[in-house]
Amino acid sequence: MRRNDVFLLLAVLALSGALFFALRANSGPAGIARVYHEGDEIAELSLSGPGEFRWEDGDDYVLVRVEDGRARVTEASCPDKLCVNTGAVSRAGAAIVCLPNRVSVVLEKPGDAGELDAVAF
């Protein structure tokens, strides 16, 4: 390790920390989950009550369940199952994505109009 290595590591940690708090400051508990396919909204689920939505296209499917203010993908036809392994999300701004199926679930605050305030990369 050289000195520059340490600086680089600290810079990455500082950036991550700043991003973490910036993203978190903007997000409280979520109220609704919107389901998108290729960027188009296909369903809106309230997180207050139990509910589910199933997207299907031929043999492909994604099952989204909401309950107790949380949303999760319980079943999907994709090979990697990353969406299922993501588990439950509950904060506004959080997202679950099933990439092979191009389906994503995005959580929002109860009153949000459906547009993101800001996008940080």
Binding site: L8, S16, Y36, L82, L99, R102, S104, L116, V119, F121
Partner: protein
Amino acid sequence: MAKRLSMLSMLTAIGLLAAWLEYVLLPPIAVPGVKLGLANLATVAALFVYGFRGASAVTFARVALAALLFGNLSTLMFALAGALLAVPGMALLKRVGGFSPVGVSIAGGVLHNAGQLLAAAVIAKTPGLAAYLPVLLVSGAAMGAVNGVIALAVIRRFR
């Protein structure tokens, strides 16, 4: 020339083996994209011994072979998205100077994860995926450090 070719082939094989071990032994982790990325140690070693072109050859050969042997189209796409950012980025850092293989590898891990997340956000048209960025940056740096230390040992034996 023959030595260079055989050394690069060996590094490709090391990278492929590392990728395969990880694929077989490690189950997917809850946060998408967090992984060891052991194969990157071959890229880092190739970069320091044979430069940018050597590192590119080792990386793209490995990515293609891994996708053919135990991946699919989507793993190929994401591996490429990560590599396209990480390999030139690491080469640039090495050129700037003052960084050891460990530092270069840390940058590689971070850039790889950033590239993959960016690709995922674009493909799924979900900017909200940025929420995963902090976790992926930290994990990329941590795994990059681990790989860098191993790469350092590999580089010493190559020289």
